[in-house]
Symmetry: C2
Subunit: 208 residues, 2 copies
């Protein structure tokens, strides 16, 4: 391995170790010593590659949410029926949370600590939220999506996957439902898709 390749590897290893430790222990709980040890790097590696622990945290959050935000923006802005695009967003979000369980943990730790999502994620979130609100308004305008508060509807799309991800071990032990099993994962995704579509479709609430 050339020396050129070592520098990006260490940087990537620090991001991975930071993602795991910040999500497990929070920003304050994850020490520089733990993160550098987890990355197999020396104690000065965070300063060398990122400048500070705060800057590493920022890079961890950004690198975790940015690829998801790009995918969701592409689906929201793509062609097709608004409700189908909403379904596409929900499917991508679910798949991403299954692959990156650290993401909801980073977010929820920040919400518990400060009441807000991690600062480096807020611009991504605002952008995705605004795009989803636009998509929901589009669906409402053509009578595909029922009347309702677009921002609450947009946020609500995210609640099922987030809830199941956070409950993942409890779901297995208390309800015998294992999200690591591909069949059960498919059942969970189908449940979320049907629930979201039913919850948004026009005139579908059932008689009161």
């Amino acid at each position: 391995m050339s020396q050129d390749a070592v520098v990006p590897d260490t940087r990537e290893a620090l991001l991975q170790a930071g993602r795991k430790l910040f999500s497990d222990k929070g920003f304050d709980g994850a020490s520089v010593r733990d993160i550098t040890a987890g990355a197999g790097a020396n104690l000065g590696a965070i300063t060398y590659h990122f400048g500070s622990k705060e800057a590493l945290y920022e890079a961890v959050v950004s690198s975790t949410i940015a690829p998801l935000a790009e995918r969701l923006m592409a689906t929201v802005g793509g062609p097709g029926d608004p409700l189908d695009r909403v379904e596409g967003v929900v499917r991508e979000y679910f798949a991403y949370l299954m692959d990156y369980p650290e993401m909801p943990r980073l977010f929820i730790r920040s919400l518990l600590a400060s009441g807000m999502p991690p600062a480096p994620a807020q611009e991504h979130l605002k952008r995705v939220l605004a795009a989803l609100v636009g998509l929901i308004r589009e669906g409402q305008a053509i009578g595909r999506i029922r009347p309702g508060h677009p921002a609450l509807m947009a946020l609500g799309l995210m609640s099922h996957s987030l809830h199941l991800t956070i409950m993942r071990p409890a779901l297995a032990r208390m309800a015998g439902f294992d999200l690591d099993d591909p069949t059960q994962r498919g059942i969970a995704l189908d449940h979320i898709v049907r629930t979201v579509r039913g919850g948004l479709a026009l005139g579908q609430e059932g008689p009161a």
Copy 2:
């Protein structure tokens, strides 16, 4: 005030201080010193009234979830259309989380730390979950609720209120939506009720 009344007051003050500090800082982060100071009690008060910090935590969790579990069980077991009873459950859960924002924080801290809800809450949760599964099966049997996995549907009922509660400060700052305002709180509850009914009602998913 008679001396008889002082003992229960200290006990109640410890429960309240414990509820706040365990939800803000987690079990490990909330010290005996902080809790007794918050309750205006002496350092030995937790040992005197509960036996240990662990036992206080258990009493905090139980006293927080037990009244909610009773209310939900009564609504699930009450008369009326299954979908209307589901709506009643969702309304009570939302109102309870608005009044006791410590509850979801206690739960989520435990889920982050151990992957499981707080141990003293698990029996309550299992009981409510089993009752909700029965209610959903009843609705499915008479064609009021669509086919689907009853345990996922039951857990999903809880996700919207939980999500909005955890997002409460972010909702105000990022979406201008203030759950402390009675009108906006009503809009949020209406949103949740319509979303849940639409997501569960038979044949309501909208064409794929």
